[in-house]
Symmetry: D2
Subunit: 173 residues, 4 copies
């Protein structure tokens, strides 16, 4: 398992866990009044402990770094340098992160990626470094961590369970 390594990699690339957690907080705070940053940090850490997530991050950051060092074969080197808008491998890799906590993270990902706030804005404006993969990976981790928190707040589900039980007996468990 590469948890420490991945955290270190992200830091080396300018991304702190707290900054990802901040994105999670912004996404979920409107829906969960008692939410605290502590919990968002924990959720990001959980996501980063998943092997699937680690493999995606390790691969994506490697490609960003190799592009900076101009070690990629062409035409990949140029695709990465110009951040070709039709290149979708970064989104594909990110999907595998999002799926770890189910499909409900999809919406948050797209929103973060379009809205570019916080750390995502910072990554985007860095013009000496190449962040083709990093920005999407970070948005993906935030989306997954956000989905994980949503799964932990079963308010809607509780209401739903009660109502369903009233209507037709208890088929749930």
């Amino acid at each position: 398992m590469f948890y420490q390594h991945v955290v270190q990699c992200l830091e080396n690339r300018g991304v702190k866990i707290e900054e990802i957690a901040r994105l999670v907080y912004e996404l979920q705070a409107p829906y969960i009044s008692e939410l605290e940053m502590e919990e968002c940090i924990e959720s990001v850490q959980s996501v980063l402990k998943k092997r699937e997530v680690q493999h995606a991050i390790i691969t994506g950051i490697s490609l960003d770094q190799l592009a900076e060092q101009r070690l990629l074969p062409e035409p990949l080197q140029t695709i990465m340098e110009v951040d070709e808008p039709l290149y979708g491998v970064d989104e594909i890799l990110t999907l595998s992160i999002i799926h770890v906590y189910g499909s409900i993270g999809l919406t948050s990902f797209g929103y973060l990626d379009k809205d570019k706030q916080g750390i995502l804005r910072k990554l985007n404006n860095h013009d000496k470094q190449i962040h083709v993969f990093l920005d999407d990976l970070v948005a993906g981790v935030a989306a997954a961590a956000s989905a994980r928190i949503a799964h932990d707040y079963p308010d809607v589900e509780r209401y739903f369970t009660d109502r369903a039980r009233d209507q037709q007996g208890s088929f749930m468990n």
Copy 2:
């Protein structure tokens, strides 16, 4: 092929092709100054001609309708009635639409789904009808049609091609 049927289905559920094309226009106009509604309409039509897209729409709208008629077995009936936020099958089905024109549509989808403008806002506020699937399907079609247009405007790519050619000869075709 079910093209006419799908167009009819969408209209019956309150969605005109022009309204989906409007979402496409809003997404792409900032990047493509010469874009016209005509082209967005055509792009939506192309997306709706794909079998994968037709199957997703036919299935999703059927589920919405069956929920309105209270014909779904429990607990699915209740999940649909309360539009359970943790239910992600609507997003999953939509992914299969988006993938038809590549992963770059992912971002647009999330943005549309979060931002809820135009027809999406209308679908969301309709409280007599059940639109658990329809809103996502419409956003998915708009995202795919938007990706299709992006693929047709190779400006960035042209720049990119020229530049790459200068650097190392012509490996492209």
Copy 3:
């Protein structure tokens, strides 16, 4: 959470947890000599406790049942009755199950689906019932449970970790 409900649903449709576990055993036994059925059963149960998986199964089985009762709107009713080979919503829904334990389950799914052994063969030969979704869902659960077991046997990883440590110090954790 719908765990008991989902187990019951599967049994009502002719699928016992042990039969899914049998598929898992066949998939993994060649690689893990000490594997026991007990563990495969446990792994299937874990997969069935995931909300994403429950939602997919609940939706897919509902569609199979509504098709048997001839309650689906056309053309979906006919698509389901003839088990249209170009209809891919069943595969799409199954993907959301497989992704729960990472992409390595993909291969197993395709193999099971093509090879049709055990319970899958039984489901396939049942001509009074409609199993458009059920066969794929069961193969998906078996593939995910199989991936989950692979993640628990870190033999390869252990070898890998040792070797990597020898080479460049400990970046892993």
Copy 4:
């Protein structure tokens, strides 16, 4: 567009279009008696003309080559050298190829990947070269090309259309 470049890349890595087409033929011949190799070759070429597919192949082959040259940062270098079975980025990238012709290619992919015949067996036994990505990419292209052919043989659909029309009038087009 990188069509010629991608064909060249594949050849440099030991994969001829005819060999991929052979896999397609084996997959589809049992279902389509009049199928000829010519058509399978054409279908593979069509798949390789899709930008999404080109990006996936360019990225995957680059990673294989960089691993052979020992240029990848650790731990990715070691993951690639030992072909870590829990590393799923190769499958993820392949998914983006398969999705280009719809989800029905999923089954074929898994089958090819498990069954390892023809060119896939050859790639697997090459122990001097690293083919972590290449084997999956080739299976993905074959699966997509195979799905594309299935979409072109609407026998089942024709039967289905006739039958549905008899039953409830013409909603199809």
